[in-house]
């Protein structure tokens, strides 16, 4: 909107700009963020947020946000500058600013209500099923909250909304080893299974390699000798990292 030069000339540095970008930010990012929080809260925590305070949260925010920012359009067009905390009395801006203040308090009440809802639901919320929304995407196929491994056995994904294509039957891929860290590697384009890749067990070597690398580069600020001398511990730690360990190594057979 303010990319249009005639409008920008008129409203630059006025409250109109404040109104406009808050409409964009709150409508475009804050509402979706709250929506996402409600949507995935059951998956993250295993508990539902309260359905009773949810609509209150929404309407207070919706009314409060419009009450706060809609009058600012008019204030800006009427000449009120932004980034100035006060204005002379008698310009007729008082009522609209009062309205905006009331709206801001409504937003505050809405957010406090949301925080209370989260705090209470975390402890006493209704236990969430795997897929409370009958959604189609993959995260709703695992338990709420998910296992550390996400899926004990990998669901086969036939399309972009795999859970809507199940028709009462969940098809799983199985056979990855659980005693070593095996992951499934697929072909790049059609995602057909190709091989099982074994990831290494937890190891101290990457940390040692990072410390050795840090010492090399910080040392190189002070003397060029830090490069050839520091390369020795870097090489040792990288080799230690790379060297095959048993029993993960046995898994390669």
């Amino acid at each position: 909107m303010v990319a249009s030069v005639p409008i920008d000339t008129q409203v630059h540095d006025t409250y109109f700009v404040v109104a406009h970008f808050h409409y964009v930010l709150i409508g475009g990012a804050v509402f979706p963020m709250f929506g996402g929080f409600y949507y995935w809260f059951p998956k993250i925590t295993g508990r539902m947020l309260s359905e009773r305070s949810g609509p209150w949260n929404f309407w207070l925010l919706f009314v409060g946000f419009n009450l706060t920012f809609f009058p600012m359009h008019w204030l800006g067009l009427a000449g009120m500058p932004r980034r100035v905390y006060t204005y002379p009395a008698g310009l007729g801006w008082g009522d609209a600013n009062l309205l905006a203040t009331v709206g801001a308090f409504l937003i505050g009440v809405s957010v406090l209500l949301f925080l209370a809802n989260v705090a209470v639901s975390l402890r006493r919320g209704e236990p969430a099923p795997d897929n409370p929304w009958h959604a189609g995407t993959l995260e709703w196929a695992t338990s709420s909250p998910p296992f550390v491994c996400n899926f004990p056995e990998i669901p086969i994904v036939p399309g972009p909304e795999p859970l809507w294509e199940e028709r009462g039957e969940r098809r799983l891929a199985y056979g990855l080893r659980a005693d070593v860290r095996e992951v499934l590697v697929t072909h790049l384009v059609d995602a057909t299974p190709d091989h099982r890749y074994t990831f290494p067990d937890p190891s101290i070597w990457p940390l040692l390699a990072a410390l050795a690398t840090t010492a090399l580069f910080i040392g190189s600020i002070y003397t060029p000798w830090a490069v050839p001398i520091g390369a020795v511990p870097v090489a040792v730690t990288l080799i230690g990292w790379f060297w095959p360990k048993t029993p993960a190594d046995e898994a390669e057979a």
Partner: protein, 200 residues
């Protein structure tokens, strides 16, 4: 909800070669990053060259002998690397041991000649902008070669132990891929360090 265990993965292999391998993609990504670093260093050379009328500013160009010998060595080393790669993909342990050892010998010989190349630069990193950039180009490439020679040495040691099987063959194959990159990256650097100061 009926659960059907529909697809058995337990019979899949535990490693694969080329673009099917994670390591191949990792190496490709590494080549993209390091190739960019080489390109930036080469551009820095061109930038400095355009700033002055006399180039090199105070010294004769680097002596051709060692750099040219090393280029020949590097191109020649592609042969044992090719053979090691092919043998690894056939999982033939004896030729892998032989050709990987030859690769290592080439690498060590290259590093020896590289040391002579530094003495033939006739300048040093702290002399002036010219000295800085030729040293940077040569040093940058040397770090890549030294890394790969170290890598090849460890892999050669491994391939002679009980670990010389399975995924180690993929490592040998990707080791050759990375070496090709170090060879390819050298050619523009050779031209820049040795030829450009003679003709431009």
């Amino acid at each position: 909800m009926r659960v059907v265990r529909a697809l058995d993965l337990s019979q899949l292999p535990t490693y694969a070669y080329g673009a099917r391998s994670l390591l191949w993609w990792a190496t490709l990504g590494f080549c993209a990053i390091e190739g960019t670093a080489f390109a930036l260093a080469l551009m820095a050379y061109v930038y400095l060259r355009l700033k002055v009328s006399v180039w090199p500013p105070s010294v004769p160009p680097p002596a051709l002998i060692w750099g040219t010998l090393n280029t020949a060595l590097l191109l020649g080393s592609c042969v044992p690397n090719f053979l090691a790669k092919k043998a690894a993909e056939r999982e033939a342990i004896r030729p892998v041991r032989i050709w990987l050892s030859v690769c290592l010998l080439f690498g060590v010989a290259f590093c020896g000649v590289r040391a002579l190349e530094f003495t033939a630069l006739r300048t040093t990193w702290s002399a002036d902008a010219y000295g800085s950039i030729v040293f940077a180009l040569l040093f940058l490439h040397t770090t890549h070669i030294a890394t790969d020679v170290g890598d090849t040495a460890v892999l050669t040691a491994l391939i002679f132990t009980r670990h010389g099987r399975g995924r180690r063959f993929v490592d040998v194959s990707e080791n050759a891929f990375y070496w090709y990159f170090a060879v390819l990256a050298w050619l523009p650097i050779y031209v820049m360090v040795y030829i450009v100061p003679r003709v431009w």
